[in-house]
Subunit: 393 residues, 2 copies
């Protein structure tokens, strides 16, 4: 196991009706004037924003509203938020939404106390001196941003999608009511599930040996997703399955299951170019990329793929030919993604094979290699995109 430091100080407030307590937690963590940051009109139409603001009013907490954050959140909305926060002397951000809203708020949190351009952090990876505190009311189990210090933003000029992470960006509190996710369309629910599973697999495929505890914890989350996702696709009002998925989504990405091991994140990297270019859902892009990546790199450590096949997908180990088991596991993963309604190739995603050179170019591998479980050259990346383009069951 590698040496590590891990700190997940977020207070998670989980369960039915917990969104009505957000005023209490804003107060507890020192917010006096709050930016309520949200996405589409559904948070307004469902009455959620009203319940959130009522909870703030009950604690005499002042607030402004900033909606309109879109999936694959843009820098333009971040600049708008930074300006609004400065003008209104906002001292806490309250995100009502999923990964896009939370990631956008994290960018605002970086930008408000910073004299330069917030994009500097995403470009250079520099550490912030100060950030605005964040609170969350989560409305979809997916990105795990409610428990992580990570954020991904798309720069409209050039549609560049870049990630950044700092423990200072971890939310002070995250309110998680699984009931809020019951009205999500099946497609978005499935995208969330694909994202959660990808967060685990990106940690699972490691070059660090002898990491049984985190292997087993990763498998625990995956087994849960395999059981519970089809249940919510079949019955969106299955609270118990929604609840299991919601906690799984947090555990998948707050890094308690990923400490002390090298991680990959190349599937996320390759996917970001897809959602950057086609504006597809991140989870859908991952559903197309991840099994293709697995097929391509499995020879790097075939026993690790066989382990996943046996322990997660219930395959019988082929002791004569472990690669057969590895491939069976990848097949079962792709079949699972298809069955929950995810695309499994470029056509189903709305991407085009002839764009592969553009995707590779934008990823910027150049003549070097991307680090990860297996180092990837530009040619490797193109090959993975090709497998993804043409995949079928």
């Amino acid at each position: 196991m590698d040496n590590f430091q891990f700190c997940s100080p977020t207070e998670f407030v989980f369960g039915k009706g917990s969104e009505n307590r957000c005023g209490e937690f804003v107060k507890k963590y020192g917010g006096h004037k709050v930016l309520v940051h949200y996405g589409s009109g559904s948070a307004v139409r469902s009455g959620l924003i009203d319940r959130v603001t009522a909870s703030l009013k009950a604690e005499n907490i002042d607030y402004c509203l900033l909606g309109g954050v879109r999936p694959n959140p843009r820098d333009t909305k971040v600049y708008e938020g930074i300006e609004l926060c400065r003008r209104e002397n906002i001292d806490m951000l309250l995100c009502v939404g999923g990964g896009s809203v939370i990631d956008s708020a994290k960018a605002i949190a970086l930008g408000v106390p910073y004299s330069g351009d917030f994009w500097d952090f995403y470009e250079t990876g520099k550490a912030p001196e100060k950030v605005l505190p964040i609170g969350v009311v989560l409305t979809i189990a997916a990105a795990g941003s409610e428990g992580s210090g990570d954020t991904v933003i798309t720069k409209e000029n050039g549609m560049l999608k870049r990630g950044y992470g700092s423990d200072m960006l971890r939310s002070k509190f995250s309110i998680m009511d699984p009931e809020l996710t019951e009205t999500l369309p099946a497609y978005q629910t499935a995208c969330g599930a694909a994202d959660i599973m990808a967060h685990v697999f990106e940690r699972y495929f490691t070059n660090t040996e002898e990491v049984e505890i985190t292997d087993r914890l990763c498998e625990a989350v995956l087994l849960t997703m395999v059981k519970e996702t089809p249940r919510v696709i079949a019955d969106p009002h299955c609270y118990e399955a929604r609840a299991n998925i919601m906690w799984a989504g947090t555990v998948a990405h707050n890094n308690v299951i990923g400490v002390g091991r090298s991680q990959d994140w190349n599937s996320h990297g390759l996917e970001h170019e897809l959602s950057g270019l086609y504006d597809c859902a991140h989870g859908a892009g991952l559903a197309v990329i991840m099994p293709a990546w697995m097929e391509y790199v499995r020879g790097h450590n075939v026993m690790r793929f066989a382990q996943a096949a046996v322990r997660v997908w219930g395959c019988q180990m082929d002791f004569q030919d472990p690669d057969r088991t590895a491939l069976e596991g990848i097949y079962k993963f792709r079949k699972f993604l298809h069955e929950i309604g995810m695309p499994i190739n470029f056509a189903e995603l709305g991407a085009k094979e002839e764009d592969i050179p553009v995707l590779v170019e934008k990823l910027g591998v150049g003549s070097g290699k991307r680090p990860g479980f297996m180092e990837l050259s530009a040619e490797d990346v193109a090959n993975i995109y090709k497998i993804a383009a043409r995949a079928s069951l």
Copy 2:
């Protein structure tokens, strides 16, 4: 899943040589004058206390030493610590040890800013207004106290063992170097493993239905212990196994795997009377009690015991007779405990069957019932002690 709140703000600093950084973390969390609290002379003889104090000196942090905390830590040492802290204006406690030292420090942390007797918290369960901050340098994987807000203290007058818990008692930082555990005698290592597994089983046997994510996370920790414990018993210097066990021990008890479900804790309750009366190791007492408790209560939900047998112990499910599978799992647990060198009955522990009425009396069930997975009357408790007294493979 039940509604829950969960916050584990401790910063974990994990890996080889990390104890040399304790001064840095004392400083980070605001300590100026520290009580270095430790147990037996082995922490001194091994040079660990010297390394810790050197690290403090390097950061110009003042300190006092208070050693001599014993297993099943006593109130007398707590009073000594409270007095010393007040006299010396200590503003942070640095625990160098395992559960006993950390639990003792938590009691001191409660007592120093409190005008009454610290024992009030253990007697009444009242919430503290203020506590001294705690830091940890962990020397054994066992109690999980480095990641929990729990503490157990024995009152010498009457040998009463009582527990208390508050999130305010969670350590600010916990330094975890698996190498420090390599010099532990095999018996203590095994006691720690038994304690870790008990912390998981106390959460696993629940009356809350549909908790797949925490079920699977619990099983992940158990599977890790089943794999790694025999390795460290066979080779105490197996760093990788020590590291896996150490993180497993923290995850087992910081409650990330126990949220949203009712828990049991009757095995811990019954064990506390054993270690209270005979001063045996807590883990050894649990090894005797826990399988006996399982045998006695399994009929309350035989499918849950069958699930553990199949998923953790690798038993084949007997679909005709699930109770046979349940019993096979319990047998395998007891056999595992025996194989790692744990006692499995009263004689091996140094307890006496004729003391059972005393144990039941001290537990104080009276004419009521102890709550838990299965409610236990005084007669139930006596029956469990009887099974434990006479158990064999």
